[in-house]
Subunit: 189 residues, 2 copies
């Protein structure tokens, strides 16, 4: 029997999500989160740089997107490469067994401005990484920036559908469809 329960950061994240749902982000104290996880404030800040970050990926969404773009077929145009990247997200980060968790988490994020701020910045940094990855494929700068913006839009659309909808569609297919729709809407202009 281990002296320490395993996966302290995981327990902290779970406790935080529970508490934020129960009484809201603002009304929850880091000390309370730590206590529910059987830990202390010191340990919380050892694993997370601040209170917001406990709700964000310990994983590597950026890497998934960047690799997805890099490993797209050489003939793929920028938006096709982005579609592949979103598909990669759908196979791991937005896999179907994470749908409920993702929905709970997003509801908490939407309810608090501080958290929306953090999310907004993460998305900007993500878009920057996508632009960089597209540029490495030889895509011109402006085209890459447009593709990244449209890709993020498709992500948003697909995510909402994936969370809301009660059919069996996975994130990947939804994102591909959303991206096709976005592409069509952009071409009309």
């Amino acid at each position: 029997m281990a002296r320490w329960q395993p996966d302290a950061p995981g327990r902290l994240a779970a406790a935080a999500l529970d508490l934020f749902e129960e009484r809201g982000y603002d009304s929850t104290t880091v000390i309370e989160i730590a206590e529910r996880a059987g830990l202390t404030k010191s340990t919380f800040f050892r694993y997370f740089p601040d209170k917001r970050e406990v709700l964000f990926d310990r994983g590597t969404v950026t890497d998934l997107l960047v690799e997805g773009i890099a490993s797209a077929p050489p003939a793929a145009d920028p938006l096709d490469a982005v579609a592949d990247a979103l598909d990669a997200l759908g196979r791991t980060f937005f896999a179907d067994d994470r749908r409920e968790f993702s929905g709970r988490r997003q509801a908490v994020l939407n309810a608090n401005t501080e958290l929306r701020e953090r999310e907004a910045l993460k998305r900007i940094d993500l878009a920057a990484s996508m632009i960089e990855a597209l540029t490495r494929r030889g895509v011109p700068s402006l085209t890459a920036r447009v593709a990244a913006k449209l890709g993020m839009l498709a992500w948003e659309i697909a995510f909402d559908q994936w969370i809301d909808i009660h059919n069996g569609e996975g994130f990947g297919p939804l994102a591909r469809q959303a991206l096709a729709d976005v592409r069509a809407a952009a071409a009309v202009h």
Copy 2:
């Protein structure tokens, strides 16, 4: 002679920008800002909800954009309406006599993550307002979302040029050109 110096919020904002440039955002205390403005912490928080907000518009960028879109000619397509809105920005918020200030402010924002976060959220909320304004013109939801994303991209491009460049181009014309370029790049897809 007035008992109180006029424009307390303005003095606070100016003092803050100076101090942030001198010693960085993190190393500057709200108390120091207030002192330099001849005021106190209490008064600072009377005018600004938090330390970040002292660098953001007391004005109404949102209103400018929304009105710009609303008052575009009925025949204008979504991106033309957005162009009109950016032009409205260029006539007031990004007027040429504010170029130096805007540059200093942006440099401070770029240097600090907390501030970049705040800016990221402001832009998202701005985009949401643009989408709403476009929708009121009868623009379909998806088209409006695409137009808002492309409009924000043109804004970013034009802003950087406006700050960097040392020719006499104003923000408005730069934004129109940027939007035209973005539109062309989006149509290629």
